[in-house]
Subunit: 306 residues, 2 copies
């Protein structure tokens, strides 16, 4: 089952070196989830061939412009293309007012319905669920109310051993029971225990998106064992003072979060415009957490075991 994230932008607030503000697309088996939507997100989607028809859920972490200034333009393009299916937007309460004031002055009547789902920062909550995934908020600490998002695959079904189906002549309608952990009684009345028929499933995969935030450890328990974490790393560690002052994180702090959370892989991003060469940030992070990668535009990262 495909589960990956494509980076559309990963610069901090001031665009620089042809790096653009924050946006990512998570793809779960063809179902797309947009996380943040900085200016020009729709241009990057065109550039990287992202199919917008499969995008039904947008998550906005907070109301600094570099995380949402591309949203109204994207919503407008959906309208110009006569989108009909509804769209869900999860984000701070003020987002609806911002979007509506634009549509009010342009006399826009949308061809589709937007459901605004306000997100609060009192405690982590499941804000989305379907047959395969849940999305929980991660409470971050920034200059504005900010949440990250934890995408968690549901527990997978057990893997049935193909040979056992013929060996015990298991009928098709019993397969799902067995995948869910059930035993099987053969035509001759023998009970075959589930452990003799199936293998452990792959561990559910998960993706934690943590931007923007000062260094905090309060959400580490929540994301323990996460397959892939994206954590902002706006500054090199030498600029820790500036990071704290602006409620951002350094490379080494981001890497420490990944280490404490026992993450499989760390993507760093939200790079300050002051750094042209990102290897400086990458190398610092790797000193603390070796499996660090740069969340560079256009790159796609598998979530989970690879």
């Amino acid at each position: 089952m495909q589960f990956d994230v494509t980076i559309l932008g990963s610069n901090a607030a001031i665009p620089a070196y042809n790096r653009h503000p924050t946006s990512q697309v998570l793809n779960y088996n063809g179902n797309l989830f947009l996380i943040d939507c900085g200016e020009g997100t729709q241009f990057r989607m065109n550039e990287f061939g992202i199919k917008r028809g499969n995008l039904n859920n947008i998550f906005i972490s907070h109301l600094h412009g570099d995380h949402y200034f591309g949203l109204v333009a994207l919503l407008t393009s959906f309208n110009l293309n006569r989108r009909e299916h509804p769209l869900f937007i999860y984000g701070p309460l003020g987002l609806e007012e911002i979007v509506q004031v634009h549509f009010k002055h342009s006399l826009t009547k949308l061809s589709y319905k937007i459901h605004f789902m306000p997100v609060f920062i009192d405690e982590p909550k499941v804000i989305y669920e379907d047959h395969a995934l849940t999305v929980e908020t991660i409470i971050l600490t920034h200059r504005l109310p900010t949440t990250g998002f934890l995408f968690k695959e549901k527990k997978n079904l057990r893997k049935i051993i193909a040979d056992k189906i013929t060996e015990h002549n298991i009928p098709h309608h019993k397969i799902n029971d067995i995948k869910r952990g059930g035993d099987f009684i053969t035509e001759t009345g023998n009970e075959i225990s589930n452990t003799g028929l199936t293998l452990d499933p792959a561990s559910p995969r998960s993706y934690a998106y943590c931007s923007d935030t000062v260094y905090i450890e309060s959400f580490i328990e929540q994301i323990k064992g996460v397959s892939t974490i994206y954590h902002e790393a706006t500054f090199i560690h030498e600029h820790e003072g500036r990071a704290t002052e602006t409620f951002h994180t350094t490379t080494k702090q981001a890497a420490t979060v990944a280490l404490l959370a026992n993450a499989g892989k760390l993507l760093i991003g939200h790079f300050s415009a002051r750094y042209e060469d990102l290897n400086l940030l990458l190398n610092e992070s790797k000193e603390v957490f070796p499996n660090t990668l740069l969340a560079e535009e256009g790159k796609t990262f598998a979530i989970g075991n690879d």
Copy 2:
């Protein structure tokens, strides 16, 4: 005196073929005027090396997003770069509410002052004036209240003939009087008439920006003899019905406006996403008005006689 316009974007509402929404920068002797500000305008400014420090006046034609969605992001970047000098924004009344609602939710306190100058569509008015230029509104007809903008150079001073300065021993402090049309009395009391000292100045140059609008002739008298006109040409002439329905213009209609206005040069733009090859539009326009050029991104066009 430099007087030119650089195209930052000239596509219609849906970005396509790496063409972006409308924005232009007019440069008058280093003083920059931004006309419309579609999404990503600040990226294009970076790409084409536009110096933002010299930009103090922004003109927004109307409140369809493809003409202003990049504005709040640009204003935010000015703030992040600690701009101090004031900025004047000329546009529809609703623009201030749109900008302020963003800043309210991001708790932004700007480092500089924005003066919102509401523009109305009752009649053409001078909305800007400095020592060298005036800007008048052009009343257009679109689905929302829309104005174009006519940038007019003030009457130039007469050109003094260099040889006459030495011939008559004209002192430096008399030069400006003579340039303004004054005669000169020599040390020996001879009166030299101005026509013997100067040449006619170059005609004042002008730039008319007309987007978006259905085909109308009501402003032609106002722009008669304009050096360069930018007129939207969203559609080829075959799609005239669609143009009228959406209050836009075809190539041949835009060219007819340029012809009737006796313009020096026509730039066409605001191309519909349905056309990949813009030569189709260019050739149609040239049939009616030969001196037509495509307002393509990154191109700079001199205003006036070249």
